[in-house]
Symmetry: C2
Subunit: 310 residues, 2 copies
């Protein structure tokens, strides 16, 4: 009988970000057909929330230029939330045209990162999102916020939990119903993860927060366990570990969704996801990209299935 | 100020198994000079316990045939424990000749694994080690036991915590002062890890146990945190993640020591190890083997140092 700690949730929502965050951080351009196939495999495997596209300027992010075409080709599975990044009203309007269920705005817990990444202060960035937030709420579209550098910053180094909580406050004021606490450079470790969430929970309820952990230093799965122990029940992953870290050349980035699902299986926590089908989705997109899957659990799981079949 | 849970130890002993367990599971033969250089770099980095050699028949394990030559060339650092596997009295005598501080005997928590691996039952294997154990105790040599398949078996599947505890009982009866709880196929997850240790602790004290976790499914660091929370303060790693998993082709095996040290740094737990020097040791042996380091923390750490220097 699997063991779950009394503090841990009975089930979690896994958000797979591979078609957006994953592919955006891969050098290769991937065709609309291959992106749609990836999304189909993910939803078929039971992934309940897919970060599918980003409506940003194709001049800056060519990998994401085909968002509308992708969403028009996807045969949507009822109950699945399809999310899109929307940095401004133009992006929001495209998201509406594409029929997105959820739009994602973003900020950082580090002033330096905000300046370097989007050329303005944290406060300005949040103000710029006001129109998008108001439109989403008025239109009944889910509004999610992603906060970068919550466990550390490539420029500022350490980030205080209070600073993270302040940015959370601003996002909650904007009307966001889900907020991603992101370890953008993967430097977080289990103790610090708990301190950040504990600070946030002095004034907000755990249910609205997710953990978006990068595996750059091999800490993501341990950080997810720490977050579970805090009561977090939403986690981001990228199938096959798609998406390297743009801040450390050659380093790994997003944690592999298969590794998260293997953890949850072991803990007896429901995900609604079939690990074999998920690992096959990871294997297939890796084949398209011409490189091995970065997922340890996915690779080992499929190897074990193959060995048992022979 | 780093956070340590009140249940966690203030310091841990890291045992690096790369020269033995790591290189034994690599296809390539590595020269005596390169093995000695690896051991020198590890001790220089502050690693307090190195599993350096194995005194087994060269017919079966050619990679380990040069154990005596290696130990004769090592310039030993005072205070470091140098360990050798000794499957029988012949191996023990070689270990004495080589001046080893510690000898390692082994068993399994799975009958099927014991049969397939060493062609006898668990009980028989322990009896066969009696002479080695008695000799080590009489000679004042540290006696350690490694127990395989504590979190699962490639043949039997699930292994009960009680079965693990029974094998521990036998090893304690033999006079072992340190006992490695090994997740040989890497299938353990945080909840199960705790259940195994909790079972063992119904009749033994935590201080004598280590965690030897494989990262085949990406769970090792999370398992180490779970073990820390149980009060375990000895952990095995292999620099650069040397040593694949012999039970899942192409899969990762030993957890990378650099990833463990990064975790401990983040938790504020002392290891006595300098991560930069350790990561350099990992980079160098990877260069010798002609492949990239399997350590995420090691690679990212060195990349960050390089970026900061430029």
């Amino acid at each position: 009988m699997p063991v779950t700690s009394s503090a841990m949730p009975a089930s979690v929502k896994i958000v797979d970000v591979s078609p957006r965050d994953g592919l955006q951080n891969e050098k290769q351009l991937v065709s609309v057909a291959d992106k749609v196939a990836l999304i189909h495999r993910l939803q078929q495997a039971g992934v309940p929330n897919i970060e599918a596209v980003s409506f940003v300027s194709p001049k800056w992010v060519p990998q994401m230029a085909d968002g509308l075409a992708v969403m028009q080709s996807v045969q949507r599975k009822p109950g699945v939330i399809y999310s899109a990044l929307t940095p401004n009203m133009r992006g929001y309007e495209s998201a509406r045209e594409a029929g997105m269920d959820e739009v994602v705005i973003f900020g950082a817990a580090s002033e330096a990162f905000s300046q370097k990444n989007i050329n303005c202060s944290i406060a300005e960035s949040i103000e710029r999102f006001q129109p998008v937030a108001q439109a989403a709420i008025a239109d009944g579209v889910r509004l999610r916020a992603s906060i970068s550098c919550c466990l550390g910053c490539p420029y500022e180094g350490e980030i205080s939990p209070e600073k993270v909580a302040e940015v959370v406050d601003r996002m909650v004021d904007l009307g966001c119903i889900e907020i991603d606490i992101a370890d953008t450079i993967g430097v977080g470790t289990a103790g610090r993860v708990k301190r950040v969430y504990e600070r946030i929970f002095t004034r907000h309820s755990p249910q609205m927060f997710s953990g978006h952990f990068h595996d750059t230093y091999g800490q993501a799965i341990a950080n997810i366990v720490a977050a579970l122990q805090c009561g977090i029940s939403i986690f981001h992953g990228s199938v096959a570990g798609l998406g390297g870290c743009p801040y450390a050349q050659g380093a790994s980035g997003n944690v592999a969704t298969e590794d998260i699902v293997f953890l949850m299986q072991g803990l007896g926590i429901e995900t609604g996801i079939d690990l074999t089908q998920l690992a096959q989705a990871g294997a297939e997109i890796s084949r398209v990209l011409g490189r091995p899957s970065q997922s340890r659990a996915g690779s080992a799981w499929l190897a074990r299935q193959a060995a048992q079949a022979s």
